[in-house]
């Protein structure tokens, strides 16, 4: 089933359930590689659903760009099965990002102070860790991001 995401005045539809099912197939093995369990990148205080609606689109747009440019691009899958699953996830998130860019083009994806502040906090958590470790951790936290989108 398609889900409609209402992110302020930006409204998009996505197959969130399919994306979540796809991630659940690799979740245990990806998370098992993340040994730094005392650091969490996507924290409750920066959650999408805890952000005012007008800023949600911008925050999600920036988070997806972070994932696409610095996580999926640098992730080294241990086997072909995971490679295929991760590629499909990346393509799904790319589609969502393109939809958000359309909202941006139609002035319905403003970047207010709250979005900027929360994204910079996420980025600072992200940059706390060594490159290869952070890629594995961020990928393992996709269930958090997808849950944020579910609740947005």
């Amino acid at each position: 089933g398609l889900k409609t995401l209402h992110l302020g005045s930006c409204v998009i539809t996505t197959n969130l359930q399919g994306i979540r099912s796809g991630f659940s197939e690799i979740r245990d093995s990806v998370q098992a590689k993340d040994e730094i369990i005392d650091v969490r990148i996507l924290r409750k205080t920066q959650s999408l659903q805890g952000t005012k609606p007008a800023d949600q689109c911008c925050l999600l747009h920036h988070i997806l760009r972070l994932y696409l440019d610095r996580v999926f691009k640098n992730y080294q899958p241990p086997d072909h099965h995971i490679f295929r699953k991760v590629s499909r996830l990346a393509n799904s998130l790319l589609t969502i990002k393109k939809d958000l860019r359309l909202c941006h083009a139609h002035m319905s994806c403003p970047c207010g102070e709250e979005a900027k502040e929360k994204y910079s906090q996420i980025l600072s958590h992200f940059e706390e860790l060594p490159p290869q470790a952070v890629v594995v951790k961020a990928l393992g936290e996709l269930d958090i991001l997808l849950q944020w989108m579910e609740e947005a």
């Binding site: 979540r20 659940s24 998370q31 098992a32 369990i37 005392d38």
Partner: protein
């Protein structure tokens, strides 16, 4: 008394069993030590925080489970747990779970099912399962409040014709019509949340008979 770590094999199959947010850590005794007087100690960890925490009620216990529902009740957080075995002055290394995300992993228990019948139909009223609560005085929270997209898979089985229908519903009342009078039907209901697959917990099978056809009953008189 500190024990010599690593001399014992670790407990095995350490995992959370979660139903309606009642989160029980469960494990098997170490290989080769079944039936021995082994004791266990449990710790848990909130992902992203800084240290492992003790569960005092699960220190030096002989049972192979530990209720961590209270400690893992913020279902937007993710958790780890670990357990080690002790026997005399020896103890095992820790055996750890994977990352446990209650919101995504808890099994949704079956609803309560109430059936009423007449000659050719069965009315079914479902009551959503309740979330685990710390103490009985607390007000109940329905799992529907946590999962707004909670659905039910209702199956009805005609014991005479051996035919089964299933229907997926979101509302709490439904009527199966065009049934055969004077026939025993059995109903089974399963709750589920669309999304990543979860283990499910069907309800007890409930059987009820439709009433006899009153028209033929009158003619017989």
């Amino acid at each position: 008394v500190p024990c010599v770590s690593g001399d014992l094999p670790k407990p095995t199959n350490v995992a959370f069993i979660s139903i309606n947010m009642k989160n029980i850590l469960q494990w098997n005794p170490p290989e080769g030590l079944q039936g021995m007087e082994v004791s266990y100690t449990v710790q848990y960890f909130i992902y992203g925080q800084k240290k492992w925490l003790n569960k005092s009620e699960c220190r030096n216990i002989s049972r192979t489970y530990c209720d961590l529902s209270a400690e893992t009740s913020d279902y937007e957080h993710q958790y780890y747990a670990k357990v080690k075995a002790m026997w005399g002055t020896n103890c095992s290394k820790w055996a750890e779970t994977g990352r446990f995300y209650p919101f995504l992993e808890t099994q949704i228990g079956p609803p309560e099912v109430a059936l009423t019948t007449d000659e050719k139909s069965i009315s079914i009223v479902l009551t959503a399962p309740k979330k685990w609560k710390k103490n009985p005085e607390e007000s109940s929270i329905s799992m529907q409040q946590i999962y707004s997209n909670l659905k039910y898979n209702v199956s009805i089985y005609n014991t005479k014709s051996n035919r089964t229908w299933s229907q997926c519903v979101t509302n709490h009342t439904l009527v199966f019509s065009w049934l055969e009078p004077g026939t025993l039907y059995c109903v089974l209901v399963e709750s589920f949340v669309p999304g990543p697959p979860r283990l499910t917990h069907p309800s007890e099978r409930q059987c009820v008979s439709t009433l006899e056809d009153q028209t033929t009953a009158l003619e017989v008189k």
